[in-house]
Amino acid sequence: MSDETNAGPKHTIAVLVDNEPGVLARVVGLFSGRGYNIDSLTVAEVDARRDRSRINIVTSGNEMIIDQIRAQLERLVPVFNVVDLTEDGPSVERELALIKVVATGENRIEALRVADIFRARAVDSTMGSFVFEVTGDSGKVNAFIDLMEPLGLAEVSRTGVVAIARGADAM
């Protein structure tokens, strides 16, 4: 059963919610209770005046499951709107990662070179380490982490995906 659930492509779903206490727990509880995947999840207030938060969830599943996820999310009382960004047209996805690399000598220099190629910035530096900030889609962040691995990768902190639809239409 879980194999079936896991099957299918990734979808990025944006959920606009009333920023009330426990709303994130409702969304997360829905996913765990019904056996859906969460590959990544971000949440932050996006409209302080109207008290609204946006949750971006990356999940996976076949068409029937993705439709269910959408319908189940819409069923939650504090949810304003649910958009499947993957399904509903082109969207932009970004992730930010802070990556600590502990290296000296040639590895340290190589790490800086790779960072330059990825337009990653060193936001902290000691004689033996860097913290790089890299932004991009998840594939780019993964590639950067893979390259840092042999150079002394020590720690990774990622935001998870934030996404928004391209074009003039707003959620």
Binding site: P21, A25, G29, Q68, A71, V77, P78
Partner: protein
Amino acid sequence: MSGTAQDSDQNETTETLSGAEILIRALTDQGVDVIFGYPGGAVLPIYDALFAQNNIRHVLVRQEGGAVHAAEGYARSTGKPGVVLVTSGPGATNAVTGLTDAMMDSIPIVCLTGQVASHLIGNDAFQEADTIGITRPCTKHNYLVKDTDEMGRIVHEAFYVATQGRPGPVVIDLPKDICVNQGVYEMPDLDNLQHKTYRPPTTGKESQIAEAVALMAGAKRPIFYTGGGLINSGPEACAKLRELVKLTGYPITSTLMGLGAFPASDDQFVGMLGMHGTYEANNAMHDCDVMICLGARFDDRITGRLDAFSPGSTKIHVDVDPSSINKNISVDLGIVGDVGQVIEQMLAGWNKAGHQPDQAAAKDWWTTIQRWRSRDCLAFEQGKDVIKPQHAIQRLYELTKDRDTYITTEVGQHQMWAAQFYKFEEPNRWMTSGGLGTMGYGLPAAVGVQIAHPESLVVDISGEASFMMNIQEIATAVQYRLPLKVFILNNRWMGMVRQWQELLHGSRYAETYSEALPDFVKLAECFGATGMVMEDPASLDDDIRKMLDIDGLVIADVRVAKEENCFPMVPSGAAHNEMIMAGNKAAESPKVTDDGMALV
């Protein structure tokens, strides 16, 4: 008090009261006339406010689980939301089973739970539980009131959420200090309430209605498959359903939850479908070409094996909850809307298009159905020695059908026999735990029904094992002089589990014998009720009449055949057209695979 005329005008809409008083005011403004509850430390301010008024009656149950089931019985028999009041900690956790039951069966409940004072929340205080966290997955929504000024708004919103769209239970968690503090209450305009985010669907899309009506009109082997959504939509929806079914002449079947939406005695009704449904209903579902599902949700007890469920049909599904559509079964046309309104649209669409059902096809289809019917799948043989459980319910039906009767049940074989043999002609007459299958539901539910309908006959069709699960509620019934009739089909087994052990587990009856049963007559007497034993088939009718004539609570211990199985049965993992019929030996029955066994 500075008393200018202007001030007193304002006071009519805005008042300063304690949180508990605001709560009671808001409940009164919602038209609540009864609360099922149990007091405790955290809700003392609320009980104090209840004590000081006469608009709302409080019914004291004997355990909080009973309060929720009683409120469910009240809600299901009246169509109004049921209200529960319990204390913090164990009061709230005891309510969880009932809340889950109401969630599964879409029953509107507003459950008020006490909570420790705000400053103690999170400190593991005495009788503290994370009620909001615990009840989040088993409620439609829940609220923690953090400000007394918010009390009124939240109560009214809770009723709106509980009753609109697909109904369900809503919890309001009430910290003690919030109930004591003073706050402002403003009566909202209840007719024009609009929720910030929640927009329940009402009518279906016209283009889809037209498509559905055309599919229905072109059908050769159609069937209406109806469920609890019709009961929830209300008596008007059920009246419209009758109109539509009569207009088309098509056969109709119902889920356990939907019984009574269409009269069971009508010739177009082919009986309940599903695991213990009739041969004709399940075969008609399997062989139909157009299935019109109205307010039902393709539950696993209905569908059996998913890939063999009605393989050749075009499926139309009407549901108020979009998440019910395409959840288990992929349908061809999913219409989101209130089922009553959609049926009305369908009627208008059918009449406008001037559709006529295909008479020749209908004749063939009914001929086939009559052939299935002639199999007489519910037949049983009543001998002279022992009362058959089916016979007991059949006789109960015959002797109560002309009265103003409400039936509740517990869960198990007796429940399925009641569904098969008690014929419901009207909605809201049948209260049973469908989705969750909660043993111990029937007695407290009957309490709620009888409180709502004091002059009516309320019978809890029970089993001896289920009855033991909420037996404490006898005291509630006695206290309020509720003349309930508890009709226990006593076979000394947890019958349905025993049946599964017989059919699926080589008759290894692990832990299913009802050992050490009480003497139900003495039990009744010690509570101040009347006990009866019924064991002779020859005097059963007289015994039932005697039970009905007693003006008070009767607990009838009906000794029935011990190892009777409930048939027909679609064994798990099987298709609708592979039913086990009465008289089949287990060995001759369709083979249950390991996959089927795991489905349970």
